[in-house]
């Protein structure tokens, strides 16, 4: 009996000390290489302004931001009057919707990505099928399962609303007259319906251009607003700041030992920074990580299709609505090799906790699931999984998870931009 009790106590003590060891073994010194790597992830190394977008002349204009802000929250920009951009990009969830795949007019095939920091990416969408933020903003508006409208509908909405018309004129200089319903027929529902295509092809090229230009300008205003959505400093960034100022005492309190061990893995043997690098913890490039297809769907080709789509896009950098056709190096030189089959854009890990579920179709509900997936790195259904099995112990995965949860922070922006504008219904 006594020996049983002794054994039990011994086992409990061993288990306890093991748990303490894996969670509380202190990390006090980082090597020079590690410090360099940690600093490369620091938010202070993110340029204050997103890269200039010469294809959008109003990208950084105040009036355009204000108009974009109004448009972003306006549910009239949908065929049923109930969907705004904020429906799937909810500011309180770091501009995501918490769903596997988004729900608007219908159900989308992909997971709504966060918009915070997106203006630093040369490619938009999981598959990079858009090459500018303004051009991206146009797609959901005409998508039958998202806003479900069409460019004619939106152009008329903007130019027939006194407020919008005034702002539009102030920003873009001219407000075309589109009241002649013979030349500019009313169109209902998504742009790509046979009826709308027929109405559209009945218009003159120059009238088509007039409408598409108003539509493109709408995207440019929406982009101007979204360029404001920049990530704020998280607990991880506070830690780097104190590391850099050599305040050992404070820095040891900002992250727990477990979180620091996770950071060590993140920049070390877990290979995370291969793709999740730079201050956004994303290289915004395309990688196949072997995620499963969604129920009832074929495996998604990802970037392999995305690159073909963006090259054909009438609203891409090289086409008529772009304000600078000479600023298209990304589009001109993008790779389109077989390597891209099943690859998707690396998402930023900032605000990770708020932005579940994960994966291009929300395949993974929790961070633990994501980490297990990388630990195993199973074969991809199509193409090849670029990740290699990590062979980490389960407590190492817990440490990584703890670190990844230190990356949340409110966006670096005045609160008024995170709610519908006051004067908007």
């Amino acid at each position: 009996m006594i020996s049983t009790i002794f054994l039990f106590v011994f086992a409990m003590l061993s288990a306890g000390s093991f748990l303490l060891w894996i969670n509380f073994v202190p990390i006090n010194d980082w090597s020079k290489i590690e410090l360099d790597e940690i600093n490369s992830l620091w938010i202070e190394n993110l340029p204050e302004s997103p890269p200039a977008d010469p294809t959008n002349l109003v990208a950084d204009r105040k009036e355009a931001r204000t108009l974009g802000h109004q448009l972003f929250f306006d549910q009239r920009l949908s065929s049923n009057g109930e969907v705004s951009c904020a429906t799937c990009h909810d500011p309180s969830l770091a501009f995501t919707d918490g769903l596997k795949t988004s729900r608007a007019i219908g159900i989308s095939a992909r997971n709504a990505p966060s918009l915070i920091g997106v203006s630093y990416s040369p490619w938009l969408y999981w598959d990079g099928r858009k090459d500018s933020q303004w051009s991206q903003a146009l797609s959901p508006l005409e998508d039958q399962v998202e806003h479900g409208g069409n460019r004619m509908f939106y152009a008329k909405l903007i130019l027939n609303d006194a407020d919008y018309r005034r702002s539009y004129k102030a920003i873009f200089g001219k407000t075309p007259d589109i009241n002649d319903s013979d030349r500019f027929p009313d169109m209902y529902g998504p742009f790509e319906t046979p009826e709308n295509i027929a109405l559209w092809s009945g218009m003159t090229k120059s009238d088509q251009f007039t409408i598409s230009e108003v539509f493109a300008n709408l995207g440019k205003a929406l982009a101007a607003y979204q360029r404001l959505l920049k990530p704020g400093a998280s607990r991880f960034d506070e830690y780097v700041k104190s590391l850099n100022s050599n305040q050992k005492d404070t820095s040891s309190n900002i992250l727990t030992s477990q979180e620091k061990l996770g950071l060590k893995l993140f920049i070390g043997k877990a290979n995370c920074t291969n793709c999740h690098n730079g201050p956004l913890l994303a290289n915004n490039a395309f990688h196949n990580t072997g995620l499963l297809s969604s129920p009832g769907k074929l495996p998604d080709l990802g970037r392999k299709r995305g690159i073909d789509v963006v090259r054909q896009d009438p609203f891409n950098c090289l086409n008529a609505f772009s304000d600078d056709n000479n600023a298209c190096m990304e589009l001109l030189y993008a790779s389109s090799t077989r390597e891209l089959v099943g690859s998707f854009r690396t998402p930023s890990l900032r605000n990770l906790k708020l932005t579940a579920p994960y994966g291009h179709a929300g395949q993974q509900q929790s961070l633990a699931e994501v980490l297990n997936h990388y630990n195993e790195a199973p074969d991809a259904m199509i193409g090849h999984n670029e990740a290699k099995p990590l062979e980490l112990w389960s407590w190492e995965l817990w440490q990584l998870e703890a670190f990844l949860e230190t990356l949340d922070a409110p966006p670096k922006i005045e609160g008024k931009w995170l709610a519908p504008p006051k004067n908007n219904s």
Binding site: N274, N277, N283, G296, L298, P299, M329, Y333, M381
Partner: protein, 321 residues
């Protein structure tokens, strides 16, 4: 006409193909053919019999460029031939009304990036998969036939056998883990050491000092290049241009050469995220390359092929980011 369905790993010869992927030959064209049941079996791959009913995704990846030019279709029929797993092409040819027993048909597709089809099996049974490829010009038709079962998860294995298998797998797995964790580490460490030593011989970190004319270089038998990058220092995730000064070893500039650029990370086994090109020879021997971008830190190599008159040489510019 050659018709082979190789469902077993040992028939791959272990040369290029990964162990668990099946090889199919359509005529003399090769392709991988794997089946997934993602909703019930996750990432597991099957090449013959499918354990479950329900959603099954057949993925055909062409290993032979020839197949891309062909129209490929795919049909699943009930296997009523009575020959079970030994069903072959002639059995299929003797089927009178193939449409009557077809459970799934994917009409011809030409050159999809991936040939993938989804079929939801609702009843278990024996089936035959038939892949047909039609040559666009000669109209010649190549066929591959493979019999398989779906939903064969049997319930008649006795519990003791299951327990035995589970235990064997469990201990086998433990042993495997122990083996994996103990053995390869010293080799791995020495490999890393080797890499570190090796890396110390590589060019200095590009971000450590601004790139000027002399910093990034590469040499071949006849030529030497110097690189002047449009961003200094060169950093990851930013597209930019290089000006390449091409000289012979006695420092005379080389004009009107044809340069092609490829690149990648040798240690990661992947290429550049872009396809850089020479856009102009800005002044004699100075070539502008647009579209250069690196998306990971670490060691990168750009391979530059120089063609001039009838000669062709390749040189490598390495950089550590």
């Amino acid at each position: 006409m050659l018709l082979i369905w190789t469902g077993h790993t040992h028939s791959h010869g272990g040369v290029v193909l990964e162990e668990d992927i099946c090889l199919i030959k359509v005529g003399f064209f090769q392709a991988h053919f794997t089946v997934f049941q993602p909703q019930t079996k996750g990432h597991k791959q099957f090449c013959e019999d499918l354990p479950d009913l329900g959603e099954s995704i057949f993925v055909l990846e062409y290993l032979h460029d020839g197949l891309e030019k062909m129209e490929v279709d795919f049909r699943i029929v009930e296997n009523l031939t009575g020959n079970g797993p030994f069903t072959n092409q002639s059995d299929v040819e003797s089927i009178e009304d193939i449409n009557a027993i077809t459970v799934f048909y994917q009409p011809p597709l030409q050159n999809p990036d991936v040939f993938a089809v989804l079929h939801d099996f609702s009843v278990e049974g024996e089936f035959i998969g038939i892949v047909t490829a039609k040559h666009p010009e000669s109209e010649k038709v190549y066929t591959a036939v493979f019999p398989f079962e779906a939903g064969f998860t049997s319930s008649d294995i006795n519990d003791l056998a299951v327990l035995f298998v589970v235990l064997t797998i469990f201990f086998g797995w433990l042993g495997y883990l122990a083996f994996k964790r103990s053995k390869p580490k010293p080799i791995f460490t020495s490999f890393i050491l080797f890499l570190l030593v090796d890396l110390s011989l590589l060019p200095e970190k590009a971000s450590a000092q601004p790139a000027g004319w002399s910093e990034l270089t590469g040499q071949s038998e006849t030529y030497a290049v110097n690189v002047n990058a449009s961003i200094k220092p060169i950093i990851i995730n930013q597209i930019h241009s290089w000006t390449l000064k091409l000289e012979t070893h006695d420092s005379s500039l080389v004009e009107k050469a044809k340069l092609t650029v490829t690149g990648g990370m040798p240690l990661h086994d992947h290429g550049l995220p872009t396809q850089p090109r020479v856009v102009a020879e800005k002044e004699p021997g100075h070539y502008q390359i647009d579209g250069i971008k690196f998306h990971m830190r670490g060691y990168w190599e750009l391979t530059i092929t120089i063609e001039k008159e009838d000669t062709r040489e390749t040189l490598i510019v390495g950089l550590n980011l």
